[in-house]
Amino acid sequence: MTTASAPLTPKDLKSDQEVRWCPGCGDYSILAQTQKVLADIGIDRANTVFVSGIGCSSRFPYYMNTYGFHSIHGRAPAIATGVKCANPQLDVWVVTGDGDGLSIGAGQLLHAIRRNISLKILLFNNRIYGLTKGQYSPTSEQGKRTASTPLGSIDPPVNPLSFALGVGATFVGRAIDVDIKSLQLVLKRAAAHRGTAFVEIYQDCNVYNHKAFEFATDRNTKEDHIVYLEHGKPLIFGKDRKKGVRLNGFTPEVVDLAGTPADDLLIHDESAHSPALAFLLAQMKFPSMPEPMGVLRCVESTTYEHMLEDQMATARRQSGAGDLDKLFSQGDTWEVE
């Protein structure tokens, strides 16, 4: 990440295009926080590329005053992979949604993550299809009544974090559109990660799935329903921080701090080699458990672009810069006189 000479402000990262999401859409907040965080970091706009697929969230690149590519449904991770491979110096962000990333583009998302190519992938999860006017999505809860499922949807939902962990993500985080502080923190951490950074952002579609995440955003109750993860710290949550999470065998359970010795609590370790803890956290679901926010996993591993560049350098070292005339004459040749 290179630092531009003049200090960058969020305004510098706004493009001249009018933002066209529905009034009240959670995307506005995510856009504002992204612009804030990238300005704070002092990114180089010329070296930053936002790539998206199709859906409401995928309009994102048009509003960022960086390079941007609004592509086709589900394929942003593949386009972004091409960008990063062609020029590994670029900072490449992918903006996708639950339909774009986990339905039509699940294959591309899977392979980008497993390659550990340095893309920062933001998946706006609103648990609905917004752009096509309100069909259930792969993250909608079972039984969801929508335009296409008048009797309720029958597919069980996919958990985006478990999916990412399952295919070997080296960075997995979660945040909420309106929870500005934790969203900024996760974005900042994702920006700094080398390798694929996968971030799920709970996003309110106030037109087709309003209040889908009310449990996590309602001022009065949210503290009882989410737990902020901090590396090396015990999982403590609740209005008065009186509740904690403890492991009972392989099952996490909520305990009252009053009756539990402090070292019984589950201590978060985002850098654990095994993804088992992160997976277990990802499975914690409202209403029986608080849902984790923050960084579930952050480990170092060789990146795809690094290995690619390494092979390129090795080839150049071993064979020298390619010589066309030698290439043409490879193998058996003969002269016709």
Binding site: T48, G68, F69, R75, A78, G82, A86, G107, A315, V336
Partner: protein
């Protein structure tokens, strides 16, 4: 036919101008290897050669079955040739199944060498022969040489300590040696190849050399072969030559183009028959600034290429019909975002999975028309294996100069077969350097130059930050636009840009006279058969000319004029009339069609028959 005397006898040698032979056997018998060795040796000797490898569709069909037969046909000549030959003069059949599936292509009176060891009851049954054809008069129209090839091979290597299986595996090389004798070829090239191939296993190397020599000596001494043939060197243009397959030529063409325009290549593809070889080739050339990515699927492959193009590399992807179908949405994105992109389609028989190892030209419509919306791209087709080289260069040049996806059509036959290639000098090619814009004061993402081409501004350039995508663009600014007039205008601009490519491509040439009775029209891999037919017809006195079309979109500007100068136009293609429809629609002429979809190239005789038919009226 079982007793074979091996006394040295007086042998005759006859001269021939050309010959066509075919090795056929089980897919485990090493026929491709024998065929490619024969090709190399003949090319090194100085003949012109043209080959037709035929693979079974099944990856491991049961041994000895009809489905498992693999073949390799070579036409070698003292004259300039363009096809692997219609019929074969000599057939080497390693088992009954190979005999059954290949016999119909052997000329009457042709040489038939069979490995009699394999003609047992079990194999005859697998090949669905009720009786042994070697023991009936079924083969009486041919010169049959039943040779116990496996027995001879095992005998030749017996003191080398090989297992029975290893010993027998040399039988393809034995048969190669025999055919070398028959056509008076030197053994050196193959001996050298064996030595380097088995450098780490001297025992196997020795065994193969022994088998090769044993086959050759058997021809020399066995009484059964009274005649051998000599095909003199061809009078090819002077220079240094090598053999090249279409897929190799495509890979080298891409690398050359990359050098000529000074841009690296990012090649992303998903394995598919018959295009995978291009990926295999390019993956060895990282030192030429070629990055290869084996993508997770066809869609990802083309998308990676598009992402790379956006970033300033030459994005290339390749596939065959079913994979191309998957890529088309993204090709449309390439058209909308006006990025250079190369899509190589090594066509194979379809629809659906079709016959993966068999060539066809049935993707022309798919390349031209197979996308949603008004979505024109440039389309160019390679005429022969070596022509894939120049075709790839032309495609890249047009892609970067016109900021457009370009389809390159090849086919399984062109991609896999080999021919001699006069090695060019890198310095002979004119560079076409790419200039990316850098001045923010004048930059507009969708402003156009006088050819209608937008600038290629790439990430990393300060001040040129801009956004592109698949939604309709406003003219000049490239912002999202749903304005009705703007959409019409942009559709017109995109079409005009592709039409303008006609300025860059040479006018359509015609082989033979500029006017006459019959104009044979071909495109892609049917070039050879049609050119040969044209020559033959002209020698017979027919007023026939040949128009081979390299650019299929846009057409060269004079195609309409050429078509008008002939009484009859016959469009020859390995499909049911795809170019025919385009030409009829565009030029409103009653073009005839010669169509074939059998997974095999045209035979010259088929084209000639069509010429006669239309000439009769």
């Amino acid at each position: 036919m079982t007793t074979i005397a091996t006394n040295p006898i007086e042998k005759r040698t006859e001269n021939r101008s050309s010959a066509t032979i075919r090795f056929a056997g089980d897919s485990g018998d090493g026929m491709q290897l024998a065929g490619s060795q024969f090709t190399n040796t003949s090319a090194l000797f100085g003949n012109d050669v043209s080959t037709l490898p035929e693979f079974p569709a099944e990856i491991r069909a049961p041994a000895g079955t009809l489905a498992g037969v693999s073949g390799f046909q070579i036409n070698f000549s003292s004259e300039d040739i363009f096809t692997p030959g219609d019929r074969v003069d000599a057939l080497i059949a390693m088992n009954p199944a190979a005999l059954k599936t290949n016999l119909r292509d052997l000329v009457e009176g042709g040489i038939l060498i069979v490995n009699s060891d394999e003609f047992n009851i079990a194999n005859l049954a697998k090949a669905k022969y009720p009786t042994n054809p070697l023991e009936t008069d079924e083969l009486s129209r041919y010169q049959v040489y039943a040779v116990p090839i496996a027995t001879h091979t095992v005998e030749a290597v017996k003191d080398l300590g090989l297992s029975a299986k290893e010993a027998e595996r040399c039988k393809n090389i034995y048969s190669l040696g025999l055919v070398y004798w028959l056509y008076d070829r030197p053994l050196e090239a193959t001996i050298n190849w064996i030595k380097s191939k088995f450098a780490k296993n001297d025992q196997i190397a020795q065994a193969n050399i022994r088998a090769l020599q044993a086959g050759f000596h058997f021809g020399e001494t066995a009484e059964i072969f009274p005649v051998r043939f000599r095909i003199e060197r061809a009078k090819l243009p002077t220079g240094k030559y090598r053999n090249i397959t279409g897929n190799q030529a495509t890979a080298m063409g891409l690398i050359t183009a990359s050098r000529l325009c000074g841009k690296p290549i990012v090649y992303a593809s998903y394995p598919i028959t018959p295009a995978s070889d291009i990926l295999h080739q390019l993956s060895h050339y990282k030192h030429f600034d070629v990055k290869t990515i084996q993508a997770e699927d066809e869609i990802a492959a083309v998308c990676m290429a598009i992402g790379a193009s956006f970033t300033g590399a030459i994005g290339v992807t390749a596939s065959a019909g079913p994979g191309i179908a998957l890529k088309q949405e993204a090709v449309g994105l390439g058209v909308m975002t006006e990025l250079p992109l190369i899509i190589i389609d090594v066509q194979r028989a379809g629809p659906s999975t079709g016959m993966p190892t068999k060539p066809e030209q049935t993707d022309l419509w798919q390349a031209m028309l197979g996308r949603n919306g008004e979505c024109p791209v440039a389309v160019v087709a390679a005429a022969s294996p070596s022509d894939c080289f120049q075709t790839a260069i032309d495609a890249v040049r047009i892609a970067v100069q016109y900021m457009t996806p370009v389809f390159v059509l090849s086919d399984g036959f062109t991609g896999n077969s080999a021919e001699p290639w006069r090695i060019p000098k890198a310095a002979d090619f004119a560079p076409f350097p790419v200039i990316h814009p850098a001045d923010p004061t004048v930059f507009q993402p969708y402003a156009r130059d006088e050819r209608g081409v937008r600038p290629w501004a790439i990430p990393g350039t300060p001040g040129l930050e801009h956004r592109i995508g698949g939604i309709e663009k406003a003219d000049i600014t490239g912002n999202i636009s749903y304005d009705p007039e703007n959409h019409q205008h942009m559709v017109n601009l995109r079409a005009a840009k592709i039409d303008n490519i006609a300025r860059e491509i040479p006018p359509q040439d015609v082989y033979g006279d500029a006017s006459g009775d019959v104009l044979l029209v071909s495109w892609g891999g049917t070039f050879g058969a049609v050119r040969t037919a044209c020559d033959t017809a002209r020698k017979r006195g027919q007023r026939v000319s040949h128009m081979h079309m390299r650019w299929l979109n846009p057409f060269p500007s004079n195609v309409g004029d050429v078509l008008k100068r002939f009484k009859h136009v016959v469009i020859c293609e390995l499909n049911m009339g795809q170019l025919q429809l385009l030409i009829r629609g565009r030029f409103l002429i009653n073009a005839h069609g010669l169509h074939k979809v059998q997974g095999r190239p045209f035979m010259v005789s088929e084209v000639l028959a069509k010429v006669d038919e239309v000439s009769r009226g």
